[in-house]
Symmetry: C2
Subunit: 424 residues, 2 copies
């Protein structure tokens, strides 16, 4: 094959992450710089993942293209463009510095990217985080960039804020980063929680220090499990991008959250994870979820993501903890009604098993993890709340803490450059 | 009739009030001193009122008794006892200072009190406010105390915080009052909004300066209307007394509300009322309701008073305002799911008429006010939200700003001291 006909390919899978200290608010919408730091648990790719193949070739007709789950996407938006531009720049720099043997000029070739999720997009899960993480990782691998996951997280952040956290497995912090003209909320507070190596560069607020770092790998605390209750809802309400900007602009409580509460909680959450202290982890997780939704309610006009089913799920978790006599479960909610319930493997029957006792007919218990859950019918649960959960939840997803992006050899674009329809 | 057989009687009616700047949090639970000031609209007694007769006689067997809607009540609780003790003390002082003609020593006679509401208690309306205001006013009239409504509000406050506001008609502020050991949240801020005559006495924090004052009489802005959507709910959730203490103790956003937001909003709300500026009144009302409920959600464990029906009512109000192109309606929610929608009489068809168009079969439209509402079917309302409101609302109450307690000659205790079953 002539060199200008060669097709270069790289494939990766990337995980979903669910924050326990929530990201809400951009101090710079273009660079996707957050108003406050956040911290998440990366979930296992066995249950939730995006699989992406990036290919390029001088023989591809332009322009760049992206296919997700078989459907061609518009990639002219500034977010996708920013990611591709930054990756190309790094490749171009690599090409120009390579000598004596020149690298092929992949940076000038059209890109063809294909992506599939192993979970329904309609579930309202944060697919954009896994999606942008996989896209950035796959193109970086295609380009053979020497960039670290932290460096790539800076790029993925510009695609979708929370995507930067999906570049790592385990327990992951996204640092707010240095002060800028538009910032101010977390001034100085980051010093106690930051990665430590930010220094004077942070002052520029070019976003270079707003990146993800791993607090602890999955293996540090491998027993963390998550039960996701996928709540049936007609459609997503206010988008998170629009919602967070409205909150920053109008909530008079939000500044207290961003400036005072989150910096303190980031430090407390790091400590809880490092000490494998589930009680502290759970309390902080629930408080921060409620605090975030409180600032949504304080927005003008108010934003509601929790509905009666969400509230009922909270009540069931509270009742489980009361029945057990200690905190064995923690709920958290992103910008939607789905509940994510964290618990430790040793308490699986007490937590997942209590839900399964009443929700056995929901989709999701037929997975390998789901079948293994021992039904627990002993906890004293408010019947009305459980009944609302049973009626309002379409499916459950059983998962747990997992690894970061993984290079795979299974490609979604074949050796002729053709997008194959789906994963084998 | 011998003097020791004589039965003394006085009767009054008292109104309900619905706050537009919410009371939430006690800095002194015994004296019922609030963490922050509040402001309310007194509602018309033609629609919502408590009617109370207080009687006393040397011939009554002790102890004091209270019958509400025909059911004997336990009055040994500290709140009722505090009200009766303070009223007796004032009567006793009057008796001891009267000369040469001595007053009958009513303060030493057993009290017999009877009370009826013209609205169902189960409606979850703030019946305790009207109830304690009527009780205090009736006993004060029985004792012929020269106390002003403001002075009586101090006593009623100790029965139920918001009762102090029901001693006045129109637009009523309840001043937080001076600083005490347990206080601090609104330090200094009261100066801009206070009644002005508090002075050095305020420093004692004996509660003497935490009283209600009239911002403006009903006649100043008589066109204020209220549509109450009574949401069917199994039972009340967390009681307001327990809820507010939990919020003060655990919400990290509450201090910002109490120390900064409420003092500013009190001043803004006074100005809006004095200027009859409905746009400002409505914006502040909605923001403060949402802000209050946000601090409830930020409580540990979280407190939810709004449910999906409440949220749907908010959406309908938002859609009415959007359809009209200006703010003609304002929602507010107390510690429960019922929506109170304020609007001006001139916009009755736009606001109440839009609800009536879909909710015509709910109870409450058959009142004189309800029948007069012109149905408006022209506004563009989210159908799903309206459908939730239609399904979730049992009854509507149409009312408006009204007068304070009114002395009446219709007694609920007959001339023989017997409690008559109900109002004629």
């Amino acid at each position: 094959m002539a060199d200008d006909q060669k097709i270069y390919r790289a494939s990766t899978t990337a995980p979903v992450n669910i924050a326990v200290i929530k990201y809400w608010g951009k101090r710079d919408p273009t660079l996707n710089l957050p108003t406050n730091s956040s911290l998440s648990v990366t979930l296992s790719q066995a249950d939730l993942r995006t699989h992406t193949t990036a290919a390029c070739s001088a023989s591809f007709p332009g322009p760049d293209s992206l296919v997700i789950n078989g459907a061609p996407q518009d990639i002219s938006g500034p977010r996708t463009q920013a990611c591709l531009r930054l990756l190309r720049e790094q490749r171009a720099a690599l090409e120009s510095s390579s000598s004596p043997a020149p690298l092929p000029s992949l940076s000038s070739f059209p890109l063809r990217i294909a992506s599939v999720n192993n979970f329904p997009t309609a579930a309202g899960l944060a697919s954009s985080a896994a999606g942008f993480a996989a896209l950035v990782r796959a193109v970086a691998d295609l380009y053979q960039l020497p960039a670290s996951p932290a460096e790539l997280s800076r790029i993925a952040r510009q695609g979708s804020g929370s995507a930067c956290r999906s570049l790592f497995g385990g327990y992951v912090a996204w640092e707010r980063g240095g002060e800028g003209a538009a910032g101010g909320a977390e001034a100085g507070a980051g010093a106690g929680t930051g990665a430590g190596a930010e220094g004077a560069q942070a002052r520029a607020d070019d976003g270079s220090d707003s990146l993800a770092t791993q607090v602890a790998p999955a293996g540090h605390w491998p027993d963390m499990r998550a039960l996701i209750l996928v709540v049936s809802a007609d459609k997503k309400g206010v988008s998170s991008t629009a919602g967070m900007q409205a909150t920053v602009a109008t909530s008079e409580l939000f500044a207290t959250r961003a400036a005072t509460l989150v910096p303190r909680r980031m430090a407390q959450m790091r400590a809880a994870i490092l000490a494998r202290d589930f009680d502290a982890f759970a309390r902080l997780t629930m408080r921060d979820s409620n605090n975030f939704h409180a600032t949504c309610l304080d927005t003008e006009p108010p934003i509601f993501y929790l509905n009666d089913v969400s509230r009922a799920a909270i009540r069931v978790v509270e009742d489980i903890n009361k029945a057990v006599g200690r905190i064995v479960a923690a709920y958290t909610f992103d910008a939607g009604p789905n509940a994510v319930v964290y618990y430790l493997a040793e308490n699986e029957s007490l937590v997942a098993g209590t839900f399964k006792a009443d929700m056995g007919s929901a989709a999701g218990w037929d997975t390998e993890r789901g079948r293994a859950v021992q039904i627990n019918g002993g906890a004293a649960i408010d019947r009305k709340s459980m009944s609302l959960v049973v009626k309002g939840v379409d499916r459950v997803i059983l998962t747990g803490v997992g690894e970061g992006p993984i290079s795979v050899t299974e490609h979604l674009i074949d050796e002729n450059g053709k997008v194959v329809e789906s994963e084998t």
